[in-house]
């Protein structure tokens, strides 16, 4: 009886699940390259894209440390990590969208 009561009471907060997913995936969008840590977001992709015709540039990494990098190498690494994580994010999001009640969790 207690178990049935607990199941009936159990609640699922979809907004919280969504917020946690964003936080978890965004934390993982980090890559190590040329000694620095880089957040593989749209800003970094756009910045690197501006420098693709340069052999070497200096840009700030995600810890605000200036790093000398070869933009094409970093761009390729960031693009791969970005898409890996985006695909994982899509799968997790689709699963989350299917979860409606506590019994589906």
């Amino acid at each position: 009886m207690n178990e049935i009561r607990e199941q009936a009471r159990a609640a699922y907060d979809r907004n919280l699940a969504q917020k946690n997913l964003n936080e978890r995936m965004s934390a993982r969008m980090i890559l190590a390259h040329a000694g620095g840590l880089w957040r593989c977001d749209n800003d970094l992709l756009a910045t690197l894209h501006c420098y693709l015709d340069y052999d070497e540039v200096v840009i700030l990494d995600s810890q605000d440390i200036p790093r000398k990098v070869q933009p094409l190498d970093l761009f390729n690494a960031v693009r791969i990590r970005h898409q890996e994580l985006m695909n994982e994010w899509l799968v997790a999001y689709a699963e989350l969208a299917r979860t409606r009640t506590a019994k589906d969790v």
């Binding site: 159990a10 946690n20 934390a27 993982r28 980090i30 190590a32 000694g35 969790v105």
Partner: protein
């Protein structure tokens, strides 16, 4: 250069920290591919670890934690972290608490970058209740609180450990200065002050943390967490403050796969 993880664990009363460290070691191997060293004061056959280093006993303090509707009091042996740089067999070490569950590759880039020392700067409560909002800064609000739950360092990080040792040796003085209690000793404060003094760069992500009043179950889909009447599913790295996992670490075995 050798890379590996270290877990400091010694059993305390009904808390099987070494059993929990063995599960954590398997998760570290699975998700980060690193060898794991146990730093312990307990003489036993520790077959679940790649290396075992015996460390000296240090003074412990009493600590109370919520357990279901009641609480438990246990000896908190948390005073060894400052000596980890001396004990670690690796030239680049990832030091994690036994109750930090590695369930993703989140920490891999931290090992691969060139900073000699890094630790967690901020945490968030995955139950959405902001339980740790009051711990963003030290109690006198002067400097940010950092978290010694996860640290990454190489052999050149000695100045940080020396600064943390300086705080430990004069803990009452620093407690009065920053407004935290004199007992129990907390690595978060000692290393947080050291990191502040030495201007250690901040990590670009927060650590997921689970408050002690939540219960944890595991299956092949990850962790299922219950708090009040709410349930949620979790599949990433997580620092679990609930002591049930230390009382019965076998509840986490389905995560190993």
């Amino acid at each position: 250069m050798s890379e590996g993880a270290c877990i400091i664990a010694s059993n305390s009363g009904e808390l099987d920290y070494i059993g929990l460290a063995a599960i954590s070691a398997k998760l570290i191997r699975k998700h980060l591919g690193l060898p794991v060293c146990l730093l312990t004061t307990d003489i036993d056959d520790h077959l679940d670890f790649d290396e075992v280093v015996m460390i000296d006993e240090r003074p412990a303090s009493k600590r109370a934690m919520i357990k279901g509707d009641t609480h438990i009091t246990y000896e908190w042996k948390n005073d060894h972290r400052i000596d980890a740089i001396k004990y670690s067999p690796w030239s680049r070490t990832l030091l994690v608490d036994a109750d930090y569950l590695v369930l993703s590759d989140l920490l891999k880039p931290v090992l691969d970058c060139d900073q000699p020392f890094m630790m967690i700067d901020s945490v968030y409560d995955i139950t959405g209740r902001n339980s740790f909002a009051g711990m963003r800064r030290l109690p006198d609000h002067s400097i940010d609180q950092r978290w010694a739950t996860v640290m990454c360092f190489d052999n050149t990080a000695e100045p940080v450990f020396e600064a943390a040792e300086m705080v430990r040796n004069d803990y009452a003085y620093y407690a009065a200065m920053f407004g935290f209690p004199v007992r129990p000793f907390r690595n978060d404060y000692a290393f947080g002050i050291a990191a502040h003094l030495l201007g250690i760069p901040r990590l670009p992500f927060s650590m997921a943390q689970l408050p002690p009043d939540c219960s944890v179950a595991a299956d092949d889909r990850g962790l299922k967490i219950t708090h009040a009447n709410n349930v949620l599913r979790w599949r990433g790295d997580l620092h679990v403050l609930n002591k049930d996992i230390a009382i019965d670490p076998s509840i986490l075995e389905p995560l190993i796969g």
